[in-house]
Protein backbone atom coordinates (compact mmCIF):
# COMPACT_ATOMS: atom_id res chain seq x y z
CA UNK A 1 0.00 0.00 0.00
CA UNK A 2 1.41 3.35 -0.97
CA UNK A 3 -0.94 5.60 0.94
CA UNK A 4 -3.02 5.24 4.08
CA UNK A 5 -4.78 7.30 6.73
CA UNK A 6 -4.76 6.80 10.47
CA UNK A 7 -6.66 8.64 13.18
CA UNK A 8 -5.30 9.12 16.68
CA UNK A 9 -6.18 11.18 19.74
CA UNK A 10 -2.51 11.94 20.29
CA UNK A 11 0.33 11.78 17.79
CA UNK A 12 3.89 11.99 19.09
CA UNK A 13 6.55 12.91 16.56
CA UNK A 14 9.90 11.55 17.71
CA UNK A 15 10.65 8.27 19.45
CA UNK A 16 13.50 9.25 21.78
CA UNK A 17 13.16 9.52 25.57
CA UNK A 18 10.80 12.56 25.43
CA UNK A 19 8.60 10.94 22.79
CA UNK A 20 8.42 7.55 24.55
CA UNK A 21 7.61 9.18 27.92
CA UNK A 22 4.96 11.38 26.24
CA UNK A 23 3.28 8.50 24.48
CA UNK A 24 3.26 6.17 27.51
CA UNK A 25 1.89 8.97 29.73
CA UNK A 26 -0.80 9.99 27.24
CA UNK A 27 -1.89 6.38 26.71
CA UNK A 28 -2.53 5.92 30.46
CA UNK A 29 -5.82 7.75 30.01
CA UNK A 30 -7.03 5.27 27.40
CA UNK A 31 -6.40 7.60 24.47
CA UNK A 32 -5.42 6.26 21.08
CA UNK A 33 -1.75 7.23 20.81
CA UNK A 34 0.90 6.75 18.12
CA UNK A 35 4.59 7.55 17.77
CA UNK A 36 6.06 8.42 14.36
CA UNK A 37 9.84 8.38 14.18
CA UNK A 38 12.42 8.75 11.38
CA UNK A 39 14.71 5.99 12.56
CA UNK A 40 14.39 2.27 11.87
CA UNK A 41 14.16 1.60 15.63
CA UNK A 42 12.74 3.66 18.49
CA UNK A 43 14.95 5.05 21.27
CA UNK A 44 16.20 8.20 19.57
CA UNK A 45 19.86 9.08 19.29
CA UNK A 46 20.65 8.32 22.92
CA UNK A 47 18.90 4.97 23.41
CA UNK A 48 20.29 3.20 20.41
CA UNK A 49 21.58 -0.30 19.82
CA UNK A 50 22.74 -2.12 22.95
CA UNK A 51 22.06 0.97 25.13
CA UNK A 52 18.43 -0.11 25.04
CA UNK A 53 19.44 -3.17 27.09
CA UNK A 54 22.28 -1.73 29.20
CA UNK A 55 20.71 1.55 30.41
CA UNK A 56 18.19 0.92 33.23
CA UNK A 57 16.07 3.99 32.37
CA UNK A 58 15.94 2.95 28.72
CA UNK A 59 14.97 -0.61 29.67
CA UNK A 60 12.23 0.60 31.99
CA UNK A 61 10.68 3.06 29.53
CA UNK A 62 10.88 0.76 26.56
CA UNK A 63 9.18 -2.02 28.49
CA UNK A 64 6.44 0.44 29.58
CA UNK A 65 6.04 1.34 25.92
CA UNK A 66 5.77 -2.32 24.86
CA UNK A 67 3.12 -2.93 27.53
CA UNK A 68 1.12 0.13 26.47
CA UNK A 69 -1.40 0.43 23.66
CA UNK A 70 0.79 2.96 21.81
CA UNK A 71 1.07 2.21 18.09
CA UNK A 72 4.57 2.54 16.70
CA UNK A 73 5.50 3.89 13.30
CA UNK A 74 9.29 3.68 12.94
CA UNK A 75 10.94 4.70 9.66
CA UNK A 76 8.21 7.35 9.28
CA UNK A 77 9.24 10.90 8.46
CA UNK A 78 6.67 13.64 8.97
CA UNK A 79 7.11 16.22 6.23
CA UNK A 80 4.02 18.42 6.17
CA UNK A 81 0.85 19.56 7.92
CA UNK A 82 -1.49 20.37 5.01
CA UNK A 83 -4.26 21.45 7.43
CA UNK A 84 -4.18 21.74 11.23
CA UNK A 85 -4.88 18.28 12.66
CA UNK A 86 -3.35 16.29 9.80
CA UNK A 87 0.26 15.31 9.24
CA UNK A 88 1.75 13.74 6.13
CA UNK A 89 4.66 11.36 6.51
CA UNK A 90 6.84 9.34 4.19
CA UNK A 91 7.73 5.71 4.86
CA UNK A 92 9.99 3.36 2.93
CA UNK A 93 6.87 2.01 1.17
CA UNK A 94 4.95 5.20 0.54
CA UNK A 95 2.95 7.80 2.38
CA UNK A 96 0.87 7.82 5.52
CA UNK A 97 -1.41 10.59 6.79
CA UNK A 98 -2.13 10.97 10.50
CA UNK A 99 -5.18 12.81 11.83
CA UNK A 100 -4.69 13.95 15.40
CA UNK A 101 -6.54 15.63 18.24
CA UNK A 102 -3.34 16.60 20.06
CA UNK A 103 0.19 16.71 18.72
CA UNK A 104 3.34 16.28 20.83
CA UNK A 105 6.58 17.35 19.15
CA UNK A 106 9.55 15.44 20.57
CA UNK A 107 11.88 15.93 17.64
CA UNK A 108 15.14 15.99 19.61
CA UNK A 109 18.37 17.65 18.61
CA UNK A 110 21.24 17.22 16.21
CA UNK A 111 24.95 17.98 16.56
CA UNK A 112 26.26 21.42 15.68
CA UNK A 113 29.04 21.33 13.11
CA UNK A 114 31.57 24.10 12.61
CA UNK A 115 33.47 24.24 9.32
CA UNK A 116 37.28 24.09 9.39
CA UNK A 117 39.75 23.13 6.65
CA UNK A 118 39.41 19.40 6.03
CA UNK A 119 36.06 18.91 7.78
CA UNK A 120 34.57 17.50 4.57
CA UNK A 121 37.10 14.63 4.41
CA UNK A 122 35.76 11.13 4.83
CA UNK A 123 35.99 9.86 8.44
CA UNK A 124 35.56 13.36 9.87
CA UNK A 125 32.11 13.18 11.40
CA UNK A 126 30.02 14.09 14.42
CA UNK A 127 30.92 12.67 17.81
CA UNK A 128 27.45 11.25 18.23
CA UNK A 129 27.60 10.20 14.58
CA UNK A 130 30.64 7.95 15.06
CA UNK A 131 29.04 6.43 18.14
CA UNK A 132 25.82 5.82 16.20
CA UNK A 133 27.71 4.15 13.35
CA UNK A 134 29.66 1.92 15.75
CA UNK A 135 26.37 0.95 17.39
CA UNK A 136 25.13 0.18 13.88
CA UNK A 137 27.97 -2.18 13.01
CA UNK A 138 31.04 -0.09 12.11
CA UNK A 139 34.15 -1.88 13.48
CA UNK A 140 36.23 0.47 15.68
CA UNK A 141 38.63 -2.01 17.33
CA UNK A 142 42.21 -0.71 17.13
CA UNK A 143 41.25 2.50 15.27
CA UNK A 144 42.84 5.76 16.36
CA UNK A 145 40.19 8.34 17.19
CA UNK A 146 40.38 12.01 18.16
CA UNK A 147 37.18 13.24 19.85
CA UNK A 148 36.73 17.00 19.67
CA UNK A 149 34.29 19.88 19.90
CA UNK A 150 32.29 20.75 22.99
CA UNK A 151 29.65 19.41 25.31
CA UNK A 152 29.04 16.53 27.68
CA UNK A 153 28.56 14.18 24.73
CA UNK A 154 32.32 14.17 24.02
CA UNK A 155 33.28 12.25 27.17
CA UNK A 156 30.38 9.85 26.79
CA UNK A 157 31.38 9.11 23.18
CA UNK A 158 35.09 8.77 24.04
CA UNK A 159 34.25 6.34 26.82
CA UNK A 160 31.94 4.30 24.57
CA UNK A 161 34.51 4.08 21.77
CA UNK A 162 37.30 3.10 24.17
CA UNK A 163 35.14 0.37 25.65
CA UNK A 164 34.66 -0.96 22.12
CA UNK A 165 38.38 -1.18 21.44
CA UNK A 166 39.15 2.20 19.88
CA UNK A 167 42.43 3.94 20.72
CA UNK A 168 41.12 7.34 21.84
CA UNK A 169 44.20 9.46 21.20
CA UNK A 170 42.81 12.69 22.62
CA UNK A 171 39.61 14.39 23.72
CA UNK A 172 39.67 18.13 22.88
CA UNK A 173 37.09 20.27 24.65
CA UNK A 174 36.94 23.91 23.58
CA UNK A 175 35.59 25.04 26.96
CA UNK A 176 38.18 26.16 29.49
CA UNK A 177 39.22 24.15 32.53
CA UNK A 178 37.86 26.93 34.78
CA UNK A 179 34.49 26.82 33.12
CA UNK A 180 34.35 23.02 33.40
CA UNK A 181 35.36 23.23 37.06
CA UNK A 182 32.49 25.65 37.74
CA UNK A 183 30.16 23.25 35.93
CA UNK A 184 31.43 20.30 37.98
CA UNK A 185 30.83 22.27 41.18
CA UNK A 186 27.29 22.98 40.04
CA UNK A 187 26.71 19.23 39.70
CA UNK A 188 26.41 18.99 43.51
CA UNK A 189 22.82 20.08 43.00
CA UNK A 190 22.35 17.01 40.76
CA UNK A 191 23.80 13.95 42.54
CA UNK A 192 22.90 11.55 39.71
CA UNK A 193 24.97 13.57 37.27
CA UNK A 194 28.01 13.47 39.59
CA UNK A 195 27.92 9.68 39.60
CA UNK A 196 27.83 9.70 35.78
CA UNK A 197 30.72 12.15 35.57
CA UNK A 198 32.87 10.08 37.95
CA UNK A 199 32.13 6.94 36.03
CA UNK A 200 33.24 8.58 32.79
CA UNK A 201 36.44 9.86 34.36
CA UNK A 202 37.32 6.37 35.52
CA UNK A 203 36.57 4.85 32.14
CA UNK A 204 38.78 7.41 30.41
CA UNK A 205 41.87 6.79 32.56
CA UNK A 206 44.95 7.15 30.35
CA UNK A 207 43.20 9.26 27.68
CA UNK A 208 44.60 12.74 27.02
CA UNK A 209 41.77 15.10 28.08
CA UNK A 210 42.55 18.58 26.75
CA UNK A 211 40.59 21.71 27.60
CA UNK A 212 40.65 25.01 25.66
CA UNK A 213 41.54 22.77 22.68
CA UNK A 214 39.95 22.40 19.26
CA UNK A 215 40.75 21.05 15.80
CA UNK A 216 42.41 23.60 13.47
CA UNK A 217 42.64 21.48 10.32
CA UNK A 218 42.11 17.92 9.19
CA UNK A 219 44.28 16.48 6.43
CA UNK A 220 44.33 13.46 4.18
CA UNK A 221 43.97 12.33 0.59
CA UNK A 222 40.13 12.24 0.31
CA UNK A 223 40.10 10.32 3.60
CA UNK A 224 41.28 11.55 7.00
CA UNK A 225 44.90 10.87 7.95
CA UNK A 226 45.69 13.46 10.62
CA UNK A 227 44.31 16.40 12.54
CA UNK A 228 46.04 19.49 13.88
CA UNK A 229 44.88 20.43 17.36
CA UNK A 230 45.22 23.87 18.89
CA UNK A 231 46.09 23.44 22.52
CA UNK A 232 47.85 25.88 24.85
CA UNK A 233 48.76 27.95 21.79
CA UNK A 234 51.00 25.23 20.27
CA UNK A 235 49.39 23.41 17.37
CA UNK A 236 50.00 19.68 17.46
CA UNK A 237 49.50 17.18 14.61
CA UNK A 238 47.93 13.86 15.56
CA UNK A 239 47.66 10.91 13.16
CA UNK A 240 44.24 9.29 13.39
CA UNK A 241 41.64 7.21 11.54
CA UNK A 242 38.59 9.14 12.74
CA UNK A 243 37.88 12.65 13.97
CA UNK A 244 34.63 12.57 15.95
CA UNK A 245 33.79 16.25 16.23
CA UNK A 246 30.60 17.95 17.34
CA UNK A 247 30.02 21.35 18.94
CA UNK A 248 27.20 20.55 21.35
CA UNK A 249 23.63 20.26 20.09
CA UNK A 250 21.07 22.32 18.21
CA UNK A 251 17.34 21.60 18.53
CA UNK A 252 15.28 20.17 15.66
CA UNK A 253 12.61 22.86 15.44
CA UNK A 254 11.66 22.65 11.74
CA UNK A 255 8.35 20.87 12.32
CA UNK A 256 7.47 23.17 15.25
CA UNK A 257 8.10 26.17 12.98
CA UNK A 258 6.04 24.63 10.21
CA UNK A 259 2.99 24.16 12.45
CA UNK A 260 3.40 27.74 13.67
CA UNK A 261 4.86 27.35 17.18
CA UNK A 262 6.54 30.43 18.60
CA UNK A 263 10.30 30.12 18.98
CA UNK A 264 12.56 32.25 21.14
CA UNK A 265 16.34 32.17 20.98
CA UNK A 266 16.03 29.17 18.67
CA UNK A 267 13.94 27.11 21.11
CA UNK A 268 10.25 26.26 21.11
CA UNK A 269 8.40 28.27 23.76
CA UNK A 270 6.25 26.20 26.11
CA UNK A 271 4.21 26.89 29.25
CA UNK A 272 4.17 24.90 32.49
CA UNK A 273 2.31 22.05 30.82
CA UNK A 274 4.50 21.96 27.69
CA UNK A 275 1.81 23.70 25.60
CA UNK A 276 3.28 25.59 22.66
CA UNK A 277 1.75 28.82 21.33
CA UNK A 278 -0.43 26.69 19.00
CA UNK A 279 -3.56 25.13 20.58
CA UNK A 280 -3.37 21.32 20.97
CA UNK A 281 0.33 21.26 20.10
CA UNK A 282 2.82 20.34 22.83
CA UNK A 283 6.59 20.15 22.75
CA UNK A 284 8.96 18.17 24.98
CA UNK A 285 12.67 17.52 25.27
CA UNK A 286 15.59 19.17 23.48
CA UNK A 287 13.55 21.50 21.19
CA UNK A 288 12.50 23.47 24.31
CA UNK A 289 16.12 23.74 25.58
CA UNK A 290 19.10 21.35 25.51
CA UNK A 291 18.83 19.62 28.87
CA UNK A 292 19.64 15.94 28.38
CA UNK A 293 17.75 12.73 28.92
CA UNK A 294 16.39 13.31 32.44
CA UNK A 295 14.74 16.59 31.51
CA UNK A 296 13.47 15.09 28.25
CA UNK A 297 11.80 12.21 30.15
CA UNK A 298 10.19 14.62 32.59
CA UNK A 299 8.95 17.04 29.94
CA UNK A 300 7.66 14.07 27.97
CA UNK A 301 5.65 12.87 30.97
CA UNK A 302 4.23 16.37 31.56
CA UNK A 303 3.27 16.76 27.90
CA UNK A 304 1.75 13.26 27.73
CA UNK A 305 -0.25 13.67 30.93
CA UNK A 306 -1.47 17.12 29.87
CA UNK A 307 -2.40 15.91 26.38
CA UNK A 308 -4.19 12.94 27.95
CA UNK A 309 -6.23 15.24 30.20
CA UNK A 310 -4.38 14.51 33.50
CA UNK A 311 -3.65 18.11 34.26
CA UNK A 312 -3.17 17.70 38.02
CA UNK A 313 -0.66 14.86 37.59
CA UNK A 314 1.23 16.95 35.03
CA UNK A 315 1.31 19.93 37.39
CA UNK A 316 2.86 17.77 40.13
CA UNK A 317 5.99 17.34 38.04
CA UNK A 318 6.67 21.05 37.58
CA UNK A 319 8.98 21.45 40.57
CA UNK A 320 11.21 18.61 39.41
CA UNK A 321 11.31 20.17 35.96
CA UNK A 322 12.47 23.53 37.34
CA UNK A 323 15.43 21.81 38.99
CA UNK A 324 16.46 19.99 35.82
CA UNK A 325 16.07 23.18 33.82
CA UNK A 326 18.70 24.80 36.02
CA UNK A 327 21.05 22.03 34.90
CA UNK A 328 20.15 22.83 31.28
CA UNK A 329 21.08 26.47 31.84
CA UNK A 330 24.45 25.54 33.30
CA UNK A 331 25.10 23.28 30.28
CA UNK A 332 24.42 26.19 27.96
CA UNK A 333 26.74 28.49 29.87
CA UNK A 334 29.58 25.99 30.20
CA UNK A 335 29.65 24.85 26.60
CA UNK A 336 28.98 28.13 24.80
CA UNK A 337 31.22 28.55 21.79
CA UNK A 338 34.28 30.75 22.20
CA UNK A 339 34.61 33.49 19.54
CA UNK A 340 38.05 32.21 18.42
CA UNK A 341 36.25 29.31 16.76
CA UNK A 342 34.93 31.72 14.12
CA UNK A 343 38.47 31.95 12.80
CA UNK A 344 38.59 28.21 12.07
CA UNK A 345 36.65 28.74 8.86
CA UNK A 346 38.96 30.14 6.16
CA UNK A 347 37.64 31.87 3.01
CA UNK A 348 38.22 28.64 1.03
CA UNK A 349 36.50 26.37 3.56
CA UNK A 350 33.25 24.79 2.37
CA UNK A 351 30.42 25.86 4.69
CA UNK A 352 27.45 24.34 2.83
CA UNK A 353 28.37 20.73 2.08
CA UNK A 354 25.31 19.98 -0.04
CA UNK A 355 26.16 22.68 -2.59
CA UNK A 356 29.89 23.13 -1.84
CA UNK A 357 29.59 26.83 -1.01
CA UNK A 358 32.69 28.35 0.58
CA UNK A 359 32.82 31.11 3.20
CA UNK A 360 34.19 33.61 0.65
CA UNK A 361 31.06 33.09 -1.49
CA UNK A 362 28.83 33.75 1.53
CA UNK A 363 30.47 36.82 3.02
CA UNK A 364 29.20 39.34 0.42
CA UNK A 365 25.58 38.55 1.32
CA UNK A 366 23.87 40.24 4.22
CA UNK A 367 21.43 37.56 5.25
CA UNK A 368 20.61 33.86 5.13
CA UNK A 369 17.88 34.55 2.57
CA UNK A 370 20.16 36.56 0.26
CA UNK A 371 22.88 33.92 0.53
CA UNK A 372 20.39 31.17 -0.34
CA UNK A 373 19.19 33.05 -3.40
CA UNK A 374 22.64 34.03 -4.65
CA UNK A 375 24.93 31.17 -3.65
CA UNK A 376 22.63 28.12 -3.16
CA UNK A 377 23.85 27.86 0.45
CA UNK A 378 21.22 25.87 2.38
CA UNK A 379 19.36 24.88 -0.80
CA UNK A 380 20.55 21.26 -0.89
CA UNK A 381 18.86 18.17 0.51
CA UNK A 382 19.69 18.91 4.18
CA UNK A 383 17.76 22.17 3.75
CA UNK A 384 20.28 24.11 5.80
CA UNK A 385 20.17 21.80 8.83
CA UNK A 386 23.98 21.57 8.85
CA UNK A 387 25.11 24.94 7.41
CA UNK A 388 22.31 26.96 9.07
CA UNK A 389 23.66 26.69 12.63
CA UNK A 390 27.19 27.22 11.25
CA UNK A 391 26.31 30.44 9.41
CA UNK A 392 24.38 31.60 12.45
CA UNK A 393 27.57 31.31 14.51
CA UNK A 394 29.98 32.55 11.83
CA UNK A 395 27.94 35.37 10.32
CA UNK A 396 25.13 35.99 12.79
CA UNK A 397 22.45 34.97 10.29
CA UNK A 398 19.13 33.69 11.56
CA UNK A 399 17.28 31.06 9.54
CA UNK A 400 13.96 32.40 8.32
CA UNK A 401 10.72 30.69 7.34
CA UNK A 402 10.30 26.95 7.06
CA UNK A 403 8.31 25.62 4.14
CA UNK A 404 6.80 22.24 3.41
CA UNK A 405 7.97 19.64 2.76
CA UNK A 406 10.36 19.95 5.72
CA UNK A 407 12.31 16.99 4.31
CA UNK A 408 13.05 15.95 0.73
CA UNK A 409 10.16 13.70 -0.29
CA UNK A 410 9.56 11.48 -3.31
CA UNK A 411 7.31 13.14 -5.86
CA UNK A 412 4.82 10.28 -5.77
CA UNK A 413 4.32 10.89 -2.04
CA UNK A 414 3.43 14.52 -2.69
CA UNK A 415 0.74 13.51 -5.20
CA UNK A 416 -1.45 11.55 -2.84
CA UNK A 417 -5.02 12.42 -3.76
CA UNK A 418 -6.01 8.79 -4.31
CA UNK A 419 -4.99 5.55 -2.68
CA UNK A 420 -4.08 4.14 -6.05
CA UNK A 421 -0.40 4.00 -6.94
CA UNK A 422 0.36 6.76 -9.41
CA UNK A 423 2.83 4.76 -11.43
CA UNK A 424 6.55 5.16 -11.18
CA UNK A 425 7.20 8.87 -11.24
CA UNK A 426 10.78 9.96 -11.16
CA UNK A 427 12.19 9.89 -7.65
CA UNK A 428 13.26 13.40 -6.77
CA UNK A 429 15.39 14.52 -3.89
Amino acid sequence: MRSSNSQFDVIVVGGGPAGIASAVSAAQSGKRVAIADDNPALGGQIWRGETVHSDPAARAWISKLRESSVQLFPGTRVFDQPVPGTLNAETLDGRVAFDYGKLILATGARERFLPFPGWTLQNVMGAGALQALVKAGLPIQGKRVVVAGTGPLLLAVASYLKKHGAIVVAVCEQASRASLAAFALGLFAHPGKIAQAWELRGELAGVDLLTSAWPLTAAGNQILESVVISSKRTPKRIACDYLACGFHLVPNTELASLVGCRLEGGFVQVDDLQNTSVPNVFCAGEPTGIGGVDLALLEGQIAGLAAGGHRAAAENLRKQRAKLRSFARSLEKTFQLRPELKRLTTPETIVCRCEDVTLSKLRPHGSWRAAKLQSRCGMGPCQGRICGPATQFLLGWAAESVRPPVLPVKLRNLTYESDQPKGELASVM
Binding site: D38, N39, P40, Q45, G49, G75, L92, R110, E111, F113, T120, Q122, N123, V124, M125, G126, G128, A129, L130, Q131, A132, L133, A136, G137, L138, P139, Q222, I223, N252, I350, R353, C354, E355, D356, G380, P381, C382, R385, I386, P408, S427, M429
Partner: protein, 81 residues
Protein backbone atom coordinates in the same frame (compact mmCIF):
# COMPACT_ATOMS: atom_id res chain seq x y z
CA UNK B 1 29.30 -15.16 16.74
CA UNK B 2 25.93 -14.37 15.17
CA UNK B 3 25.43 -15.42 11.59
CA UNK B 4 26.65 -12.82 9.08
CA UNK B 5 24.52 -11.52 6.26
CA UNK B 6 25.82 -10.76 2.78
CA UNK B 7 25.16 -7.56 0.85
CA UNK B 8 26.66 -6.22 -2.37
CA UNK B 9 28.45 -2.87 -2.41
CA UNK B 10 29.41 -1.66 -5.90
CA UNK B 11 29.42 -5.27 -7.11
CA UNK B 12 31.56 -6.70 -4.29
CA UNK B 13 30.06 -8.97 -1.65
CA UNK B 14 30.47 -7.84 1.95
CA UNK B 15 29.53 -9.86 5.04
CA UNK B 16 28.16 -7.85 7.96
CA UNK B 17 26.62 -8.58 11.34
CA UNK B 18 22.81 -8.55 11.52
CA UNK B 19 21.56 -5.06 12.41
CA UNK B 20 24.38 -3.31 10.57
CA UNK B 21 23.24 -0.14 8.81
CA UNK B 22 23.98 0.33 5.14
CA UNK B 23 26.35 3.28 5.79
CA UNK B 24 28.51 1.05 8.02
CA UNK B 25 28.49 -1.70 5.38
CA UNK B 26 29.66 0.83 2.79
CA UNK B 27 32.50 1.94 5.08
CA UNK B 28 33.47 -1.70 5.73
CA UNK B 29 33.59 -2.18 1.94
CA UNK B 30 35.86 0.88 1.65
CA UNK B 31 33.31 2.71 -0.50
CA UNK B 32 32.68 6.46 -0.39
CA UNK B 33 29.07 7.57 -0.28
CA UNK B 34 28.80 10.26 -2.90
CA UNK B 35 30.78 12.62 -5.03
CA UNK B 36 30.00 16.23 -4.10
CA UNK B 37 29.07 19.08 -6.46
CA UNK B 38 32.76 20.00 -6.76
CA UNK B 39 33.93 16.38 -6.92
CA UNK B 40 34.98 15.66 -3.33
CA UNK B 41 34.31 12.12 -2.14
CA UNK B 42 32.18 12.18 0.98
CA UNK B 43 31.36 9.86 3.84
CA UNK B 44 28.72 10.02 6.56
CA UNK B 45 28.66 13.16 8.73
CA UNK B 46 25.69 13.14 11.11
CA UNK B 47 24.84 9.44 11.42
CA UNK B 48 21.19 10.29 12.07
CA UNK B 49 19.52 11.03 8.75
CA UNK B 50 19.89 14.81 8.79
CA UNK B 51 22.88 15.72 6.59
CA UNK B 52 22.20 13.55 3.51
CA UNK B 53 25.95 13.01 2.95
CA UNK B 54 25.54 9.23 3.19
CA UNK B 55 23.01 8.91 0.43
CA UNK B 56 23.42 5.98 -1.94
CA UNK B 57 21.38 3.82 -4.30
CA UNK B 58 19.88 0.96 -2.30
CA UNK B 59 18.04 -1.79 -4.21
CA UNK B 60 17.43 0.60 -7.07
CA UNK B 61 16.17 3.49 -4.92
CA UNK B 62 18.41 6.50 -5.52
CA UNK B 63 19.26 9.02 -2.79
CA UNK B 64 18.50 6.65 0.09
CA UNK B 65 19.93 7.71 3.44
CA UNK B 66 22.23 4.77 4.13
CA UNK B 67 22.62 5.53 7.85
CA UNK B 68 18.87 5.07 8.39
CA UNK B 69 18.50 1.74 6.61
CA UNK B 70 19.43 -1.65 8.05
CA UNK B 71 21.15 -4.21 5.80
CA UNK B 72 19.02 -7.06 4.53
CA UNK B 73 20.52 -10.21 3.01
CA UNK B 74 21.08 -9.79 -0.72
CA UNK B 75 20.73 -6.01 -0.66
CA UNK B 76 22.32 -4.27 -3.63
CA UNK B 77 24.07 -1.00 -2.76
CA UNK B 78 25.64 1.37 -5.28
CA UNK B 79 27.64 4.48 -4.43
CA UNK B 80 29.31 7.21 -6.47
CA UNK B 81 32.82 5.87 -5.77
Amino acid sequence: MPEQIAVTVNGATVAVAPGTCVAAAMMIAGASCRSSVSGELRGPLCGMGVCFECRAEIDGVAHSRSCQIVCVSGMNIKTDA
